[in-house]
Symmetry: C2
Amino acid sequence: MKLESRFWMTVDGKKVFGKGPCILLKNIDRLGSLNKAAREMNMSYSKAWSIIHGAERALGYALVETKSGGLDGGGSFLTVEAKRLVRAYEEFSKEAEELVNKLYEDYFKDF
Amino acid sequence: MKLESRFWMTVDGKKVFGKGPCILLKNIDRLGSLNKAAREMNMSYSKAWSIIHGAERALGYALVETKSGGLDGGGSFLTVEAKRLVRAYEEFSKEAEELVNKLYEDYFKDF
DNA sequence: TTTCGTTGTTCTTGTGTTAGTATAACGCCA
DNA sequence: TGGCGTTATACTAACACAAGAACAACGAAA
């Protein structure tokens, strides 16, 4: 029996940012392309696109800069705000998970 | 911008118990009836039933005792194991939420 | 000017989940 | 015995969500 946890940010009840968008952003950063990131994650392009732009609308600022055209077709790149957000969320959720897992051990050690 | 968190227990990846089943069990305990609890939560009886029995199957022990027939039609009542589980989960998740919210303030105070 | 792989956008299709319905069994009481 | 409000279970309809297709725009290079 194992604990799993999830953390996400909301603005008046609406989901704004969480694990899924965070992973997607990291993959976009690594691959330089929303298309490639979506394919690697077995996610449709349109789904990936709507995740990113839904988060942008909710947050009120851009997470990716895009470029279309050119030899390589273009690509997507994280804004500095997105990089900061990803870093903060990752560090936070890592530590939160550890904390919560310790607490779980305390409360459920004799279950 | 507010943090929301969710915690649930799993057995080899499968969800076993979490917030939803916990609330449902509390309502069953309070109302003495799965039917009444489901109606109060705007949930179909069949959905409520499958939540409870799915959790029982995954956990390997009974969470509710049921009685059908009689003047009042019967009802559902929590087993001692269910009461213990609900209490542990509630205390755990309350403290976990507080901890995680404090941590969130630290990491996101200047966002 | 053509080719290419992106982004951006809309629409249709399929799938999985949930609600809702139907039906039987139960047991106390009038 | 008949009525009632439960539990228990199966089946069907409706809805939400995701996949995927389709198509235009873009811009660098051949």
